[in-house]
């Protein structure tokens, strides 16, 4: 069984995640797109693990989940804070820092 289709799928998902980060304005959705990218990476890792016959990829995917969990907590806390201040979750509204 070739894992190439999985890799291709993962790259498509990764790309979609990227585009999502660029086009969506709601900070939470943007963040969700980042999660999509992480998931795509996970898929690639797991697929490659199978390809190479070692479990490093799976371990890595597991770590990614842990990391993602922590990141989500921190990220959502930050987004919440800024939302409470500005009453807006749009990333475009936070553009005081420029030039």
């Amino acid at each position: 069984m070739s894992v190439t289709p999985y890799i291709v799928l993962s790259s498509i998902l990764f790309t979609i995640g990227c585009v999502g980060v660029l086009t969506r304005r709601n900070a939470i959705v943007v963040f969700m797109c980042v999660e999509l990218m992480l998931n795509a990476s996970n898929l690639a890792l797991v697929a490659f693990a199978r390809q190479h016959g070692n479990l490093d990829g799976q371990i890595a995917a597991f770590f990614v989940m842990v990391v993602a969990a922590a990141e989500v907590v921190v990220g959502l806390a930050i987004i919440m804070t800024i939302f409470r201040t500005r009453r807006s979750a749009s990333v475009d509204d936070a553009s005081l820092l420029k030039y």
């Binding site: 390809q51 190479h52 490093d56 890595a60 770590f63 990614v64 922590a70 804070t81 820092l97």
Partner: protein, 447 residues
Amino acid sequence: MNLSLTGVLVQAASTPPTFQKPHIEYAQLWPMLVVFGVACLGVLVEAFLPRERRYLAQTVLTLVGLVAALVGTCLIARDLTSLGGVARGLIAAEGTIVVDGPTVFFWGLILVFAIGGVLLFAERRLEGGLSAFAGQAAALPGSEAERQASSQGLDHTEVYPLLLFAVGGMMLFPAANDLLTMFVALEVLSLPLYLLCGLARRRRLLSQEAAMKYFLLGAFSSGFFLYGVALVYGFAGSMQLSAINEAVRNDTQNQTLLLIGLGMLSVGLLFKVGAAPFQAWTPDVYQGAPTAVTAFMAACTKVAAFGAMLRLLYVAFGSDRWTWQPMLWVVAVLTMVVGAVLAVVQTDVKRMLAYSSVAHTGFLLVGVLGVQSASDMTSGQVTSLQAVLFYLTTYGFAMIGAFAVVTLVRDSGERPPSSPVGPASVVGRRCWAGSSPSSSSRWPGSR
């Protein structure tokens, strides 16, 4: 498709795999462990000590921890030769960490700058007994609660453990010997920084915005890093840098996988060091974050990230140098130009320093490009690696110094340059300009 949950569970029950107790070289890793340990202690202090005693306790604890780690680093550095090997190093913790000359140097550097950072964190004489951090980050800016928090002298002493966690991640980052550890370290160092950026007491709106920008872009870039990890793993079949090196050397197939993976890994690191075109976050974040955090971040993160970059590029991909050197040249030149040109027109001193740090990154990248093996050189010549290390040292000191001055000047407005602050800031700025004695270590072309 032998999808069978029950089967797996049955397997698990039936034949337990052999497990060997991992061997951890505590003697060589303890500075890092001290940092993490003290960070956890700090959290406990936060939980159990009464509020008014936390500041002192945290400061002392953090400083003691960092100094202890620094002492440890020095001791390890002294014994480094005895660890043997050509690279004068030790592969520790089951091959995930390597403790060698550069590692120890980076540790020392990070710890020194972190101590400087802690001192800046602890600075609270300038604002009537208040630190630079928000009294209560959860309170809305401009609200009654915020005023109360200020008037009661509330202080987020959590910043000290957060700083320590970040320092721990930074120490792990250049020492990592496999991509997974590197990724974890990257996140460990990043998360506390995202938080710290948003905790400014003044200009909270900007601070929060900086935190969000840093966080979103950081997560985005770490996504690329991770995908790079996946692709390189796919190419090499292992996370170990040495194994990757082996694969790079031998495997001529699937070059695209390697190249894309390498590119994405580089992106993650270049983002951290703030090279163009990944520099967009630096000015905004440097400006919005509390100045103490900016100083800490500017100095330490860059040191750690350059350490990781050197290790990644030279240990894992060193045999394939010709593939990535042109790319890095482009980035380096772009970075220097963008940093230098844009620094000119900045009006906010922190933004200006941010762009200057970008320009420095460009110079450092040139140094990274020149790294070569020791055998290529005549004795007594300066290696590019030494140059990069030295440059990082001076750069870090200059950054800490410059931002320390910014802290001092923050409230007093524009001071005449004859005041005692002026000289120091100019020393810092001149270091930034790269022509002062202290940072005359710019040796890009040394061969």
